[in-house]
């Protein structure tokens, strides 16, 4: 879960004239690559016993390229193809009525489906846990996985539901008013993770 992309104007002064502090870098592009590699190895370790009968499901928007990269690294390290798909959770959100209508993302089932397999949900940031809870509801309408695990690039704390990640790229303590900005090359042209002050 991330905030909106700031314009360059917003990095300058706030309306009241006080300067907004520049975002704090958390992960550089090299860090992101390393973290993804580590998670890939962890997934391999955990699922080798079951013969890698897993599928990765990225949660749009940025969970999708992350899932694809993970699948690529797993293929490289373990010489095995892991099916990848995407799971749009918009229709399962518990806060639909609080905002205007949202556009839908794509749900693409991984090859071979998800029933009977271990599904690893992939997202960029874990925050309140509501997105993942919606993902679990959405999964239920897609099939019956043998088990569900969660891989996230950043865990920023402040859970509102009893949800935890199995694979975490970076644990990042944050204040609720802060914004965790994840950028990925496939979408933003660059890889990095930054922490922004409250607006």
């Amino acid at each position: 879960m991330t905030g909106h992309a700031p314009t360059s104007a917003e990095s300058a002064d706030a309306a009241d004239g006080a300067a907004i502090p520049a975002p704090v870098p958390v992960l550089s592009d090299a860090d992101v690559a390393r973290v993804i590699d580590r998670i890939a190895h962890q997934i391999i370790e955990n699922t080798a016993k079951s013969g890698f009968d897993i599928a990765l499901l990225g949660i749009p928007t940025r969970g999708v390229p992350l899932a694809q990269r993970l699948a690529a690294r797993i293929a490289l390290f373990a010489d095995t193809t892991v099916p990848v798909g995407s799971l749009d959770i918009t229709l399962y959100r518990d806060d639909l009525r609080l905002r205007g209508v949202r556009p839908l993302g794509d749900t693409v089932e991984p090859e071979g489906g998800i029933t009977g397999r271990t599904v690893v949900l992939v997202d960029d940031v874990l925050f309140s846990g509501r997105t993942i809870r919606a993902a679990l509801d959405a999964l239920k309408d897609l099939g019956r996985p043998r088990a569900v695990q969660l891989a996230v690039l950043v865990d920023r704390g402040h859970r509102e539901l009893p949800i935890r990640a199995d694979y975490v790229g970076k644990n990042l303590p944050t204040a609720t008013a802060q914004n965790v900005r994840v950028r990925l090359t496939e979408i933003d042209g660059v890889d990095c993770v930054e922490l922004e002050a409250a607006e």
Binding site: D88, L91, Y92, L96, R97, L98, R99, G100, V101, R102, P103, L104, G105, D106, T107, D137, K140, D141, L142, G143
Partner: protein, 315 residues
């Protein structure tokens, strides 16, 4: 978007957003579990003053697959004859605590009037000979799937244009999406003032389909001709109509490879469309029906899933 009363209510971005949402809804319909949760707890009433099994069922399935509670109220038989005003009928139904009314009426403008009286959302499922916006959306969706982007595409609509709400909504929406339209009908079935519409018109189906009169044709939409129109003296006989304005096998061959044949249904085989054309590989009639559910799901989702503009809480 509060109501969907006319195709003119949608600008290009909104129309495209509905089609994109419909595509995703459509994809979900391929799954085993077709039910989705976003409209859980919402109540939709199909208030139909005019018979229509297909449109009503389409809206009913659309609402139910989004987990809404859908109720059908048949108000057939003119409220005038029952002595109850249209206003009273509409307000009585809406007073039951309804979130949205899907209304079909045999009089043009009736749905617009109802929208002015009730506080809930209103979707026009067809008002008289005026508009049928969800039909235009599903036609555009079907065309988009077959042809890709509709910008610059040439769509020919043939039939009783005067009495067709499908034609009116399609002319508006196709123009919004960048396509251009040619209407073909005998002079007795062309509406007055059609010269001021954003489309071409022709009395010659052969010249139009061959591309001679208005350029290459990318799609043909055949409209249903009501046999009752014969008693109004609009054309001499069914044979006369079929020979001059029907989609015969010969006329089908005039079309380019890629051009699909659409029909809003139900079809009068042998009158406006030959069986050869109706059953040909070009016919996308069943696609249109499937599209209808997806498009109506998208419309209901966009109307009801989020907060009303007035309700949006600052987050």
């Amino acid at each position: 978007m509060k109501n969907l009363l006319s195709a003119a209510d949608l600008d290009r971005d909104e129309a495209t957003a509905i089609l994109d949402t419909a595509a995703r809804m459509h994809a979900i319909q391929g799954r085993e579990v077709k039910k989705l949760p976003p409209l859980r707890g919402r109540t939709i009433v199909n208030l139909f003053f005019e018979d229509s099994t297909r449109t009503r069922s389409s809206f009913e399935i659309a609402g139910k697959w989004l987990s809404a509670d859908v109720i059908n109220v048949s108000a057939k038989g003119s409220s005038v004859s029952k002595g109850e005003s249209l206003r009273d009928t509409a307000l009585t139904v809406a007073a039951m605590g309804v979130d949205a009314l899907v209304v079909r009426h045999n009089a043009s403008g009736a749905v617009q009037r109802i929208a002015g009286w009730v506080g809930c959302r209103v979707v026009n499922a067809g008002d008289g000979t005026h508009e049928h916006p969800t039909q235009a959306l599903l036609d555009a969706y079907t065309l988009r799937n077959r042809l890709g982007d509709l910008e610059g595409r040439h769509v020919v609509i043939v039939g009783d244009i005067t009495h067709s709400r499908v034609a009116r909504s399609n002319v508006i929406l196709l123009n919004t999406l960048g396509a251009r339209v040619t209407l073909v009908a005998p002079p007795t079935l062309m509406p007055s003032g059609v010269a001021s519409w954003t489309c071409e018109t022709s009395w010659d189906l052969d010249a139009t389909l061959s591309g001679k009169e208005f350029g290459d044709v990318d799609a043909v939409m055949m409209l249903r001709v009501q046999r009752e129109r014969m008693s109004g003296g609009y054309f001499a006989t069914e044979r006369e109509y079929a020979i001059n304005y029907g989609l015969s096998p010969q006329r089908l061959d005039l079309l380019a490879e890629h051009a699909p044949v659409l029909h809003p249904g139900p079809m009068n085989r042998g009158l406006e469309i030959s069986s050869v054309a109706a059953d040909s590989a070009r016919s996308v009639v069943l696609d249109q029906v499937q599209a209808g559910v997806a498009v109506r799901m998208a419309v209901l989702y966009r109307l009801l899933a989020g907060a009303a503009e007035e309700e949006v809480l600052s987050v």
